[in-house]
Structures are given as structure tokens and as C-alpha cells.
Amino acid sequence: MTLNTTGPASHGAAPARLIYARPPVLRDRSTHYCPGCGHGVVHRLLAEVMTELKLAPHTIAVAPVGCAVFAYDYLDVDFVEAPHGRAPAVATGIRRVRPEAFVLTYQGDGDLAAIGTAEIVHAAARGERITAIFVNNGIYGMTGGQMAPTTLLGQRTTSSPTGRDAALMGYPIRITEMLAQLPGVSYATRGTLADAASIGKLKAMIRRACEIQLEGGGFSIVEVLSNCPVGWGMTPQQSLEHLKGPVVEAFPVGLIVDRWTGQKPAATTGCPEPARDPEA
């Protein structure tokens, strides 16, 4: 393991103090993601949580189709590749024959909220004991920046060159709120990696979603508002500003539902309250 140590080596006096290291679940390799892309941050957070909760030896993860198809190149756990959108169905199959496993899916917004809508809805409806990491960057990154189901109104993409027009292309989908209506969903939340403080909160969300699975809860999902500097035609810095602004405005950050710990959904600006849990 390579330890990325930082210390005042040039000053000589103080001993080197480890403040940052690659979690062992994260493979030691260079990234294929574009400069400034958020996937690497999400991978890192997952690796930290999996290390802390000692999940790695029990994990069977499902990789999506999209930029994160190579998630198994970074996370050192058993992985199966799902056809586009089908990760929740693949995870269901794993879950049912491997009750002892920790089952994780990792999907983008095209994968989860367009082509795989039926699979995510029904996995959630069945309350499958799986944890879904849903990385929403509002674009099809891998295929060259086309419009996604979560692309903002007015946003220009290679397939909405004059901007997303609601009359022609419909509205962005808040699918996590939709899923949160289902009683099978134990935990649904949305975080972002727009800044360091948000990343800290996001990690806590991912950790909670994983814990709920370990505790025997049902379906848990963490939507991550992420950036795509290349697809958005922005510098990484601009993309983070955009994320904090219009993206968070359209997709409010915070807890959407937690039926497991009995917590009341936190008020989130502009986000409609999920329907009452019929079991509550």
C-alpha cells in the first residue's frame, strides 16, 4: 500500500504525520475518469465506508453501463457487470441467493432514471435489501454528453443543442423522491460533492445507507449530485459552482425518507413532501 504522507519534511523538525491514505478497498491505479469528474470522489467515499464497516469481503457489487462501468477497476470487491439499467434486477438475483452478502449497485442517471426505470422502481417496491448509489450528473457522459432524464431545463447538451425545452423534451425527473413514496424504501437521501462540507455529509449518507442494509433494512438509495465538467462544457471549478447553484436548486439536498430509523423526513427546500408512509 502506498501511503500518501504529507508533512513538513522541509522543516525537518516535526515527525511525519499520516493524515490521508488510500483506503485498502480502493485499488492503486490511475483513473480513467475525466479531470474534475465526481465519480472518483464517490468511489473514494465508498471505499472509506466499506473499509470502516469491514464490508469488502462480503460485498458483491453491480457495475452499470456508463462512465462507471469500470467501477471494478477501483473498488477491490467482487463485481458483476449488468446490462444498461438492469443493475437493480441483477442485484435482486444476488440478494435472494446470497442472503449473507452485502449487495451494492452503482448507477448513473441515464442508467437508473431512463433505461432502468422499471428495474429500480420494482427493486424498491419489493424492498430489496440492497444499497443503491445513484450518481446524478445530469448527462450521458460516456457517449459524449447527451441529454439525460435529469438534465436541467434550458441545459445545452449534444442532443439538446438549443437547451432542454420542457415542451419538447419534458422535465427533469426527481426519481429519488418518486422512489421514496414506496413503503419498501427504508432510506432515500440526496447529497452532493459540490464542496468539502457536502462531501463530509455525503459520506455520512453513504455510511447510513450501508448500515441500514447491514441492520436488515430494506432498499436504501443515496443520490449523489455530481458534476461532469467535460459534458457540461465547463472547467471543474465552474462545474462545482453550477452544481451548488442551479443543480441543487432543482434537486434539493437532504434526507428524503428514513423509514428504518423512524426519523421524520427533513424539510428540504422546494422538494415536495413524500407521501405518508402507510406503515407509519
Binding site: I60, V80, A89, V90, T92, R96, V97, R98, A118
Partner: protein, 413 residues
């Protein structure tokens, strides 16, 4: 009702069972750990049997939200090394095509049962063999094959279930068992003879990376050199399957001048027609492919050297007949008789087509002797004869009796 604890005698008793239910029970007794399905006629009883029996056995049953989801659940379960089955009927199998390509590419052993109905599109719910192309030539995208087993009776379907799991696991491949709607829906007395293929520890299964490096089951490889190597390995696997798993049955072929090539229900109709034809002095036998892929081409080629003609009978417009012609390579004439839309050829129809083939072979032989005594068997299935006018109902085209009948306005024998 038929748990493993029952005595051998009980397991061997004969009971009347519906094809769909017998196939389902055979899968359970073969050790199927998980079943995923979606309701569709004419295989719904299979799903229903599984819905009741799998939980009884402490195993996994899920009625999925679609065939897409069902086959992908199967992919996930099979990736962990479980023995997994899905079933559907033609339109549902079309939806499973995508995942079949992924399973072939990533080496995921799943058994699929297709109780075929008539297409195209929503088509009808009558029995059909019109998914032969789909089953044998590919379903999904990419260079891959899937072993396809075709039983001709409910009893054989039960035996082939265990074989299907075995082949799937031995070669890490999806395997299809195809039966037309009649085999799915009819009832037959069957011996409750079951077999549970041996379990193996798989060095590829995803079980959690405990004390070993993490495993990845995938089909993607963006490096063309690596991907070509993977494809070459896949083709090697298919050659191995063709070498070791090709199955067929020859019946009354020893002295035969003619052969009917048919599988599934069509083969049973052919048997009746053969018995009748033999009573009229036509020496005809049955060549029945049991594996549709790998097709028993070598065996059929060998037989064709000694035949005056072959009649292929299918519940389709003529799909397997293409493989028959490829195997025969013009060594003898190959005629076809089929019905579509959920209809089944009658033994009388098949007998008529056979008679026409025999008569034509006789005429060709005579003509050959008249012009050139040294001429051997003609290689062209279509000798130079004036084609009967489509409306000339007195004469029938030996090669396309079905088409001819349609042109007469459905006035069928």
C-alpha cells in the same frame, strides 16, 4: 409432493403431468436454486408451479416486473454460482435477448425455457417452432451461440432439464430448452425419474472476496486485441460444445430411402406419417435433432449420402430446413412442409408431402436414366421441370406444399 426424501419406487411411478409442470418439477429436482419469471401464455403453469414449489423447498422464486428483469435477476443469481432457471414464451424471450448476449459474453450459466408460441409480434398463443432462428442463430448481439435442446415428449423434456443445467455449468454458458406450446400444455403419463447434476465449486463465482482476490464477471473489453482473444476463446468453447454435446435420434433409418427431419411436436407428427408411409411401401425414417444448436450436421450429412430425398417438417415457415440444406449440401433433394400461426401439420399432410417427394425422386431417377444411364443422384433439389402455376390446384409443388395450399384459399387436406 416429490421431495428428495421419497422412495425410489415413488420417484419411478408414472403420473399424468402437464408439460409445463413436469418441466418445472424436473428443474426443481435437478437442484434449481432460483427461478425468475413473468406470466405469459403458454408457459404460465410453469411459473405457477414454481411459485408454489420453490418456497416449499426453501428456494428462491420471484415474479419479476418484466422478462427483462427476470433474466437479469437470473444473471445476478447465476453470477454467484447458484443453479438458476427462467422460463417464458416467444415474445418474452425476445425481451431476454439482451441479457443472453451478456451472459454468453461473461460466461454466466442460466437455463432458459422457451415454450414457443406463434409470432411475429404478439402473434397468437398456439404452438409454434418459429423461434428456431432466434434460438439457434443468436437472440442478442455479438458473436455467440447458445446450446439449444429440443425435447419431443414431456418425459424427454424432464430428462433434458437436468442435462441443461449440466451443460450450462460445464461450459459456463446460457442454455435454452425449446418446446412448442403443445409440449408445454399437453398432459402425458410420465415416469417421475429425476436427476440432480453434481455440484461443483466454481472458481469464478462471486461469493465475496474472502481470502482470495476479487472476482469480476463482465463482458466489456475496450481493447480490441483483448476482446478478440476473448472471442476466440468463446469460439473454441463452442467447438468443444459441438464436439461433445451434439444430440440426435435416428428412427427407422437403417433401410430408409427417405428421411423426415423434424424436432419437437413436428417429430411426433412425423412418426405417425412414417408408420403410415411404410405401410404403403415408402421406406422412410426419422432424423430428429435433439440439440438444435449444435445442429447434428455431420450425422445428417452422412445419412444424406444414402437418401433419395429429405422432407423437413416444422411448425414454421421453414427455419430449420436452412440448416438441413446446409448439412446436406445438395446430396439429395430437400423438401419442406410446415404450418404457421399456431397450427400443427397433420400426419396426412406430412404423408402427402412425403408421397410427392417420393414421386418426384422417382421421376428424376427415371429421367436421369433415360438421358444418361451413368448419371448418379441429381444434386439439385429443383430439377428442370415446369413450375406449376400457383392457381393450378391439380398439381402441387413438392417443395412448397404449404405455400401452394395457401394459394388455393386455405382448402387444406
Amino acid at each position: 409432493m416429490m421431495g428428495p426424501g421419497h422412495s425410489e419406487a415413488a420417484r419411478r411411478s408414472r403420473v399424468l403431468m402437464k408439460g409445463n409442470e413436469a418441466i418445472a418439477e424436473a428443474a426443481i429436482q435437478a437442484g434449481c436454486d432460483a427461478y425468475f419469471g413473468y406470466p405469459i401464455t403458454p408457459q404460465a403453469e410453469l411459473l405457477e408451479w414454481m411459485a408454489r414449489r420453490m418456497p416449499e423447498m426453501g428456494r428462491v422464486f420471484i415474479q419479476a416486473e418484466s422478462e427483462l428483469a427476470a433474466i437479469n435477476m437470473a444473471l445476478g443469481a447465476a453470477a454467484t454460482g447458484a443453479r438458476v432457471m427462467v422460463s417464458s414464451s416467444s415474445p418474452g424471450i425476445s425481451l431476454m435477448a439482451e441479457a443472453m448476449s451478456y451472459m454468453a459474453g461473461s460466461g454466466t450459466p442460466v437455463v432458459l425455457v422457451n415454450i414457443m408460441r406463434a409470432g411475429p409480434g404478439l402473434g397468437g398463443i398456439g404452438p409454434s417452432q418459429s423461434d428456431y432462428f432466434q434460438a439457434t442463430k443468436g437472440h442478442g448481439h455479438g458473436d455467440y451461440r447458445v446450446p439449444v435442446l429440443a425435447p419431443a415428449s414431456i418425459g424427454e423434456a424432464m430428462e433434458l432439464m437436468a442435462d441443461s443445467f449440466e451443460i450450462a455449468e460445464r461450459y459456463r454458458t446460457p442454455v435454452m430448452l425449446v418446446a412448442d406450446g403443445i409440449l408445454g400444455q399437453a398432459m402425458e403419463p410420465v415416469e417421475l425419474r429425476f436427476r440432480t447434476p453434481e455440484r461443483h465449486a466454481f472458481d469464478w463465482a462471486l461469493t465475496g472476496a474472502v481470502g482470495r482476490p476479487a472476482r469480476i464477471i463482465k463482458s466489456i473489453d475496450l481493447d480490441p486485441d483483448v476482446l478478440e482473444k476473448r472471442n476466440v476463446a468463446l469460439q473454441h468453447k463452442y467447438r468443444e460444445i459441438a464436439r461433445h454435446e451434439t444430440r440426435w435420434e435416428a428412427w427407422q433409418m437403417d433401410d430408409a430411402d427417405f428421411a423426415i427431419v423434424a424436432y419437437g411436436t413436428a417429430a411426433r407428427v412425423a412418426r405417425s406419417a412414417i408408420t403410415e408411409a411404410r405401410s404403403r411401401g415408402i421406406k422412410v425414417g426419422l432424423f430428429r435433432p435433439i440439440t438444435l444448436w449444435p445442429f447434428p450436421e455431420r450425422e445428417l450429412a452422412r445419412l444424406s449420402r444414402h437418401l433419395d430425398g429429405i422432407l423437413t417438417v416444422e411448425l414454421s415457415s421453414g427455419q430449420m430446413v436452412e440448416d438441413v440444406r446446409l448439412a446436406v449440401e445438395g446430396r439429395c433433394p430437400v423438401a419442406f412442409h410446415g404450418r404457421m400461426g399456431g397450427l400443427v401439420p397433420t400426419p396426412r399432410e406430412v404423408g402427402g408431402a412425403l408421397k410427392a417427394l417420393a414421386a418426384k425422386a422417382e421421376r428424376t431417377k427415371a429421367a436421369g436414366h433415360a438421358t444418361s444411364p451413368a448419371a448418379t443422384r441429381p444434386v439439385d433439389a429443383r430439377p428442370a421441370m415446369p413450375k406449376p402455376h400457383p392457381h393450378a390446384s391439380s398439381e402441387r409443388s413438392e417443395l412448397e406444399p404449404w405455400v401452394h395450399e395457401r394459394s388455393r384459399g386455405g382448402d387444406r387436406p
